[in-house]
């Protein structure tokens, strides 16, 4: 194991001070502003100042709690300039009103009017990322870790298209996000102007809603709607594209209050409470079932329904399985926790589902990674399906009791109707599940830390990270084998402590998303767990960690492979390993170059020390785990097969 902690020397570029141009002349008052002294200007200025004072007070209140101050980068210390209110101010005011304390962005020509006023809003912390994809993932990670709306910002054209992957990632995982982009001046739209692209056309199918705003007077309403839509009902990303002239335009339009926003959106009234008749039917199903299983999905976390879930499970003694995004909804050390289901889920969990006579599905959508072939899925089970999105019910599987509503409110309604069942009454059932569990956990687990030939085993590494962090850190995975190992072996206990790109499966997600998660929850340790392929996709954000002093720990599971690709090629494509091998940089040197201390572990006995060393660093740190190159994640349900057709080993090795 080796340590490096030298910060790169800064300031080398400042040597030629004398060669710099002369200091700029003091800022001129803007020409487009109406003269001072008018009554309206005075009224606006007063309103603005009051609003700012409120916001500063709120910000102070927010910060007093968790003391994130020590990790916050210093803000520009420039008081509000004397000027009138323009569209860009409206954007900032809206962010402040919505409690968006962090903004991940990257400047460019048409968004500069916003950057020009940002410093006047010290309660908004702007994090300058290194690529707009990082901004979107960071906003996403912030949102998943906090449950609040994450905000990202980019310029027109390439800045906006760079956000797209992150917006899509948020869409598929129902993450509340507001993405703001600048666009060319309204008069230039449709003229193929410099850096003009039809970005609202691009984001239309991958956002919950989007807007193109050409008039500053519309901005207060649009932004209030954007936040409302992003977080209400089934959350999702909302994109607001604003023309440059709208950002610069003077406006006195007031911000609407929430009631006005709701009234202005007659087509958006999510149904929150389950139908009472359906609740009764669900209670009857539960009372009748001998082998019930609860399937907990992301909706439990979104609805903050973990206490209600636990109450239901305990009241009726029902074991709880979770989806990838449902991890953390139910503590894995609870006696009724079954574990992770689906393609790379635990065999005992999938067996429980396949033999269940009732599935109580809460805030999950029977994704193909969860069901495999629908025809052979849970063949004996009746299904109670609770989801806030009516379109999810009956989409992939037919269900007996559909309930449209917010999981928390539905469970609160359902709980009193559910008959208590003592665990003893389910004795044989629970005992059978426990026996299956012992068997399944023993297979494909490398407790010694070594896979074949003493090579470092990834499952062991993940398990040690979970242990070392007391199962309380926020762990953010990338995509691939690392993601599956993290889901299986970290042992999650806290809601929103697991962050992963499930629906879109976006490589490059871990590092930037962890950045956002760490800023959203500065009170929790944050780890990015990534493969060597995924980390190389967004590795430039290491610099953001340094510049903005974001204390993310990075666990690099380096198998010198696109491991999940290699696994499929081995198992399904007869060992034709085209493009599965990829080289990486000298990771220690790379981290050093960014000024990030790096540690290494290539044998099981180095693992704990490397983790501890990284944790001891006050800021970001990287641990390079040199894991076995050819380890597979088992079991695996091959695509198109069913939950009972798990591959558990390959050529005699249960790797």
């Amino acid at each position: 194991m080796a340590t490096t902690s030298n910060q790169p020397s800064r300031g080398t570029t400042r040597t030629a001070a004398s060669a710099r141009p002369p200091a700029p002349a003091p800022r001129q008052r803007r020409s487009h502003l109406p003269g001072d002294g008018t009554e309206r200007a005075a009224v606006e200025e007063r309103a603005r100042r009051e609003m700012l004072q409120d916001a500063v007070r709120d910000a102070g209140r927010r910060q007093r709690g968790a003391s994130p101050v020590d990790i916050l980068a210093p803000h520009h210390d420039r008081g509000p300039r004397k000027r009138t209110r323009i569209g860009a101010d409206v954007v900032c005011e809206a962010l402040v009103r919505q409690g968006a304390d962090v903004l991940f962005g990257y400047p460019g020509g048409v968004i500069l009017p916003l950057y020009d006023v940002l410093a006047d809003y010290p309660e908004i912390r702007h994090v300058l990322v290194r690529h707009e994809q990082g901004a979107a993932h960071a906003a996403d990670g912030y949102a998943r870790a906090t449950g609040k709306v994450g905000v990202c910002l980019g310029t027109s054209g390439p800045g906006a298209t760079n956000l797209v992957t992150g917006i899509g990632t948020a869409m598929l995982d129902s993450v509340p996000m507001v993405a703001i982009t600048g666009n060319v001046a309204a008069a230039l739209i449709g003229k193929d102007a410099f850096q003009e692209i039809d970005i609202t056309g691009i984001t239309l199918p991958m956002t919950k809603h989007n807007y193109l705003v050409r008039n500053a007077d519309e901005l207060p309403r649009v932004l209030a709607e954007a936040f409302h839509i992003a977080r209400t009902g089934r959350p999702g990303p909302v994109h607001v594209d604003i023309t440059k002239d709208a950002l610069q335009q003077e406006t006195s339009a007031p911000h609407p209050d929430e009631a006005d926003v709701v009234a202005g959106l007659p087509g958006f009234r999510p149904n929150l409470d389950g139908h009472p008749r359906q609740l009764k039917l669900a209670a009857v199903e539960i009372a009748r079932a001998a082998r019930p299983v609860i399937l907990a999905g992301h909706g439990v976390l979104v609805a903050r329904a973990w206490d209600e879930l636990r109450a239901l499970a305990e009241k009726a003694s029902i074991p709880v399985a979770h989806t990838l995004l449902g991890i953390g909804a139910f503590p894995e050390d609870h006696p009724l926790s079954l574990g992770y289901m689906g393609m790379h889920g635990w065999k005992h969990v999938n067996r429980a589902i396949q033999s269940a006579d009732l599935l109580v599905a809460l805030g999950m959508r029977f994704d193909d990674r969860v069901t495999g072939s629908v025809r052979t899925y849970a063949p004996y089970a009746r299904i109670v399906h609770v989801d806030i999105d009516p379109a999810e019910i009956g989409k992939n599987v037919a269900v007996e009791v559909p309930i449209v509503g917010d999981v928390r409110r539905v469970l609160r309604g359902l709980l009193p109707l559910v008959e208590a069942v003592a665990a003893e009454a389910r004795g044989p059932y629970l005992a059978e599940l426990a026996a299956w569990r012992r068997e399944s956990e023993a297979s494909s687990w490398h407790g010694s830390g070594a896979w074949r030939d003493g090579l470092l085993s990834a499952d062991f590494v993940i398990q040690r990270i979970g242990e070392a962090t007391g199962h309380d850190a926020t762990l953010v995975s990338d995509v691939g084998q690392n993601q599956m190992w993290m889901a299986r072996y970290a042992g999650f206990r806290r809601p929103n402590s697991h962050v992963s790109s499930g629906g879109l499966g976006t490589m490059g997600f871990a590092l930037p998303a962890a950045m956002g998660a760490a800023l959203g929850r500065p009170d929790k340790e944050t780890w990015a767990i990534a493969g060597d392929g995924g980390l190389q996709m967004t590795v430039q954000e290491l610099m953001t960690l340094v510049q903005d002093r974001i204390p993310v720990k990075i666990a690099l599971l380096d198998n010198h492979k696109l491991g999940m690709i290699r696994q499929w090629q081995e198992l399904i494509y007869a060992g034709n390993y085209h493009s599965a091998h990829l080289q990486g940089p000298d990771w220690r040197k790379l981290a050093e170059a960014y000024g990030i201390p790096a540690f290494e572990a290539s044998t099981p006995d180095e693992v704990d020390g490397a983790i501890a060393a990284a944790r001891a660093v006050p800021g970001p740190a990287l641990v390079h785990f040199m894991i076995a190159e050819e380890q597979n994640v088992f079991p695996m349900m091959p695509a198109g097969k069913g939950l009972s057709d798990l591959l558990e080993e390959w050529q005699g090795a249960d790797e």
Binding site: G201, L204, P205, K208, L212, I229, L265, P266, G267, F268, A290, R291, S317, E332, D333, P335, L336, S337, G339, D357, V374, R375, T376, Y377, A378, P379, Y380, D389, A391, G394, K395, N396, V397, A398, A422, A423, E424, A425, R426, G427, P428, Y429, L430, A431, E432, A434, A435, R437, R438, E441, A442, W445, G447, D459, Q463, G466, E467, Y489, A490, G491
Partner: protein
């Protein structure tokens, strides 16, 4: 051996004392297939959507139908008598579940206020067609009499062609077009169906405010 984080002993309370007999894993040799939603038999469906009159709303609806793999046979859009409200009539093909899914997906659009599948309802359904038919001195009377029989009108007349305006259900217009095809159709345009439920009920009034 299992990782500590995951090793749970058998739940303490799981020991069967006075428990009911174990409901063992069902032991059918081959369990029945789970029904996949939908009959798989496509039918023609008519959906009416009341939407907010916002820029891009047509794009949103069309884009959604494409992305969700629904085929739109026709789509007619117009204003209603209410400010801010537009109306679309969509004719789609799909099985019942697929069309229900289309309607639910449409509801997810913020600008969509109300969607109704009126396929099974008593409705008035009409479309308008303009048909430019090749004629000669000899065939003109025959064409005109066919058009009259189908309650169409001749709205333009030239030496060797005329334009027929026809309204009616899709089937009625189809029948007229089929008859005129024999004379030579030079151009054809159809609006696609617009539809309204019979009786006093109103989809526009049903929109929640």
């Amino acid at each position: 051996m299992s990782p500590d984080a995951l090793a749970h002993a058998t739940p303490a309370h799981a020991t069967p004392a006075h428990a009911t007999p174990a409901h063992a894993t069902p032991a059918h040799a081959t369990p029945p297939d789970r029904a996949v939603p939908g009959s798989g038999v496509p039918h023609r469906h008519v959906l009416v959507a009341v939407v907010r009159d916002r820029p891009g709303v047509l794009n949103r609806v069309a884009s959604l139908m494409r992305a969700r793999n629904f085929n739109i046979e026709s789509l007619a859009v117009s204003h209603t008598d209410r400010a801010e409200m537009s109306r679309m009539t969509l004719v789609v093909h799909g099985d019942d579940v697929a069309v229900e899914q289309a309607a639910k997906q449409l509801y997810r659009l913020i600008d969509v206020l109300k969607v109704q599948d009126v396929t099974a309802d008593p409705t008035v359904e009409h479309e308008l067609a303009l048909i430019k038919v090749r004629i000669s001195e000899r065939t003109r009377p025959e064409v005109v009499s066919i058009v009259e029989m189908y309650k169409g009108r001749v709205v333009d007349l030239a030496a060797d062609s005329l334009i027929v305006e026809a309204t009616g259900t899709e089937a009625e217009v189809d029948a007229l077009v089929a008859l005129l095809r024999g004379f030579g159709i030079k151009e054809l345009v159809r609006t696609g169906a617009v539809v309204m439920s019979r009786g006093a009920g109103s989809i526009e009034e049903a929109v929640k405010r």
